[in-house]
């Protein structure tokens, strides 16, 4: 009987010590945000387009961390899905063939003769890539545009179009075999 009491006391004491230890650690080593969310956010393309159904890339990263499916990022394409799959330790969804092809990079373009200067697209742009003022023509900073499509719908005159970037020698990816690296015999 005495022994049993002794054991109970020991275990109660241990439980108390560890409980206090854990409680202290929870306060002392408190992690402000989920580090996995930061990592996921770093993988996502930051177009802030909302095509995943979340209002921006970070909310979607949060959602993935909470168990949402990883193939909702349209601008990221297969590369992003693969990277998230690696990070989360899950299999990339194989049935979603549509997403496995990276979409070509597109940017918004304002047909300036149709622009009435309503500033609606400016308010829609998540990255402030549109400049203009009320009743002044707007234009898009091509280098900052993420191609998220968010400015297309609010335009009352349908003057915004998504265009593919024209190919330039700088961005050419050597996709034709034109280099004769073989020598004369």
């Amino acid at each position: 009987m005495n022994q049993i009491l002794f054991i109970i006391i020991i275990f109660t004491g241990l439980a108390l010590i560890f409980g206090l230890l854990l409680g202290y650690a929870a306060i002392r080593f408190k992690v402000e945000s989920d580090p996995i969310v930061d990592q996921l956010d770093a993988i996502l393309p930051q177009t802030q387009c909302g095509q995943c159904g979340y209002p921006g890339c970070r909310p979607y990263a949060q959602a993935i961390a909470n168990g949402d499916s990883i193939n909702k990022c349209v601008p990221g394409g297969s590369q992003t899905i693969q990277k998230i799959a690696d990070l989360m330790g899950v299999e990339p969804p194989s049935d979603d063939n549509e997403l496995l092809i990276s979409p070509p990079k597109r940017v918004a373009f304002i047909h300036e003769n149709l622009c009435i200067g309503c500033t609606k697209c400016i308010q829609a742009c998540p990255v402030d890539a549109i400049i203009g003022a009320p009743k002044q023509m707007h234009t898009i900073l091509r280098s900052e545009c993420t191609g998220c499509d968010l400015c297309v719908d609010p335009c009352p005159t349908d003057c915004i179009e998504m265009i593919e970037l024209p190919a330039t020698p700088d961005r050419w990816k050597w996709d034709v075999e034109t280099i004769p690296v073989r020598m004369v015999q």
């Binding site: 930051q46 177009t47 330039t168 020698p169 050419w172 990816k173 004769p180 073989r182 020598m183």
Partner: protein, 666 residues
């Protein structure tokens, strides 16, 4: 080993060697023996705005302008912006996209000039005694002359020299020209050694190095002799290096001459070494001494399909097609034209491309001379590529990673250090175009890096916008504490606020019973109606009213009716006395009678109300309270009900009148 130690070893004539390398057939004699000729002024010039690595400047001219030879066409506001110049005087016909000398065959903006054939120069200010000018002035002129590395990379010379100032211990003038077929530098050195040495003096004047080495491969004895004909200063030495491909590559040449390797991702400048091509050195001399910007260069025209192969001074912007005919090319079917040498050059998409600053050779081989590559087969891991790689990379590993798109490993195996010399592909027994895969992979990695940078920027901009909107909102709230919307302080949505307001109102009314109030109002209406009816039909149905209140009301109504009738009678008598008795009595147009009727109705109303107030039923009291209290809605309803009652009373009055009239008439 300190730099001084190295320099003393260099002075003693020590040479080092680099790993790998090979000895392809040189094919240099075909073109090196003919003297330099002038290709002349072409019928049209196409001058790409970007002919170097770096940024493009803004245009200084417009369509229709007449330009003089050597006139600057684009501005240079940035160290990496290299201007372009008009190669001959003429009129600018258009500024539009044109295929440029690039393996992709893509187009870039070009200035199209129709030369007038006069070759009229802009005003020139030669500086034959360049020693009088300081480095800043010389830099500026080199920059404005549009000089970019003529060896092949096209790096802006101004940018290279300006960072090297005060830091360069060793200047290497690169005359190795290791690539097969190309003899442009060889020919230039043979014929213009004096000018090149003058250029060396200018570079020395700017950079003040300890030693300047002119490096020439031993397969160009005439060029070496040309330099040795001139008295050389103590700190300039001509170093003859053994022929080996790719000794002309900057890093390999540095290793040969100094025994030191340029660190990966590092700059040769960190070792105190600066390298300038002989062609560039000549261009610097021309720019300073003659004030001649870079508008022409030596181009080797070679290959078995040329009748007279050789080297020529070609104005930048000349069409390749025009040059080929000038040098009597006899094209075979599907003639290939390669820009650059056989190792690092690329096949032109078509011959209508302009000669640019980095064009050192046009090679038109026959099929038998340079047969198209056989189909590639599998890698057999023979490691020959690793043996010849001058950078000591593992080409077969890079090949696997490049094909698999394994960017991480490709970078780990230092793909970025590949100089794309083509040695690995040349020795490959499986005919694998290795360099092609490396270029694709490099482009892909570069693309991904750019995308990552852009994503990072987009994130920052997104965060900044969010923060800005939040700050704006806070500022707005601080400015106006929003008195119009006291109900909703946190929610700024006006619709939600309105809904909340309505709800609050409904709740308040609901406490005293909104529906109840309505019901009571209706009841009151009915009661009044009943009372009036009772009053009207009192004679015929005297006991219609039920209850105490109804009776009282009925009494009151009857009283009113009686009064009204009296008034009517008075009116009628006066009427009948004055006008025809036939006048319609129901009209009761008499103002007096109407007033009286109204008064009577009001009294009746008041009575009815009183009767109601006196009624002991609780809900009615409640209703009254609700009406008199805050609820404006219920009050309005009550008012409406009262108005209806009034109207009814009036009607009843009229009816009573008509009844009395009929009575009287009857």
């Amino acid at each position: 080993m300190s730099i001084l130690n190295i320099i003393s070893k260099i002075r003693k004539g020590k040479l080092w060697d680099f790993h790998g390398g090979l000895h392809p057939d040189e094919h240099k004699r075909e073109s090196s023996e003919a003297p330099l000729v002038n290709a002349g002024i072409p019928p049209f010039l196409v001058i790409p705005i970007k002919q170097h690595s770096g940024r493009i400047g803004r245009l200084l001219v417009k369509v229709g302008d007449h330009v003089l030879t050597g006139q600057q066409l684009t501005a240079s506001d940035h160290p990496m912006e290299v201007p372009v110049h008009a190669s001959s005087s003429g009129v600018i016909t258009s500024i539009e996209l044109h295929t440029v000398a690039h393996p992709s065959g893509l187009s870039e903006p070009c200035i199209h000039i129709k030369p007038d054939g006069l070759d009229q120069w802009r005003e020139r200010e030669p500086w034959p005694d360049f020693h009088r000018y300081d480095a800043i002035q010389l830099f500026d002129r080199i920059r404005q002359a549009g000089i970019a590395g003529l060896g092949g990379a096209g790096f802006p010379t101004y940018a290279k020299l300006s960072v090297a100032r005060e830091k360069a211990e060793i200047v290497i003038i690169n005359g190795a020209e290791c690539e097969p077929y190309i003899t442009a530098d060889d020919r230039l050195m043979r014929e213009h050694a004096r000018e090149i040495l003058e250029g060396v003096e200018i570079i020395k004047h700017i950079l003040r190095p300890t030693i300047t080495i002119i490096a020439i491969e031993d397969n160009k004895p005439e060029a070496i002799a040309a330099f040795l004909l001139h008295p050389l200063p103590d700190d300039v030495i001509v170093r003859v290096i053994p022929t080996k491909y790719p000794s002309g590559s900057a890093r390999q040449l540095i290793e040969i001459l100094t025994g030191k390797q340029v660190p990966a991702r590092g700059r040769s400048l960190s070792m105190g070494v600066v390298m300038v091509n002989v062609g560039t050195t000549y261009a610097i001399r021309q720019a300073i001494v003659e004030d001649e910007p870079l508008i022409r260069r030596v181009v080797t025209l070679t290959g078995s399909q040329f009748k007279k192969a050789g080297n020529a001074w070609v104005r930048l912007g000349s069409s390749v097609r025009w040059l080929l005919t000038q040098f009597s090319l006899v094209p075979e079917p599907r003639q290939r034209v390669i820009m650059g040498g056989s190792m690092m050059g690329f096949t032109l998409p078509h011959a209508d491309v302009p000669v640019v600053k980095i064009t050192n050779c046009l090679l038109a081989p026959s099929v038998s001379e340079l047969p198209p590559r056989d189909d590639e087969v599998n890698c057999i891991r023979c490691a020959k590529c690793a043996d010849v790689c001058p950078v000591k990379l593992l080409p077969q590993q890079l090949y696997w990673y490049s094909r698999a798109g394994d960017h991480e490993n490709a970078e780990k195996y230092n793909l970025s250090d590949c100089i794309e010399c083509g040695a690995c592909a040349w020795v490959c027994p499986s005919n694998i175009p290795l360099v092609h895969y490396y270029r694709q992979e490099k482009a892909e990695i570069e693309h991904l890096r750019e995308e990552a940078a852009q994503a990072e920027r987009a994130k920052l901009r997104f965060e900044a916008k969010k923060q800005r909107l939040e700050e704006e909102r806070l500022a707005r709230e601080a400015r106006a504490p929003a008195p119009a919307r006291p109900v909703v302080s946190s929610d700024s949505d006006p619709v939600a606020a309105a809904i909340l307001r309505i709800k609050a109102q409904q709740n308040k009314a609901g406490a005293s019973g909104d529906l109840q109030a309505e019901r009571e109002a209706r009841k009151e209406q009915a009661r009044q109606h009943q009372a009036e009816k009772a009053a009207a039909n009192r004679d015929t149905e005297p006991t219609i009213a039920n209850g105490d209140d109804a009776r009282k009301a009925a009494v009151a109504a009857a009283l009113a009716r009686a009064k009204a009738r009296k008034a009517e009678l008075v009116g009628n008598t006066s009427d009948s006395s004055m006008i025809n008795a036939e006048q319609e009595p129901a009209a009761s147009a008499d103002p007096d009678a109407v007033r009286k009727a109204a008064v009577a109705a009001a009294i009746a109303r008041a009575k009815a109300k009183k009767a109601q107030t006196e009624q002991p039923v609780a809900p009615v009291v409640d209703m009254e309270q609700a009406t008199e209290a805050v609820d404006p809605d219920a009050a309005r309803k009550a008012a409406v009900a009262a108005a209806i009652a009034r109207a009814k009373a009036k009607k009843a009055q009229a009816e009573a009148n008509s009844a009395s009239n009929t009575e009287k008439q009857g």
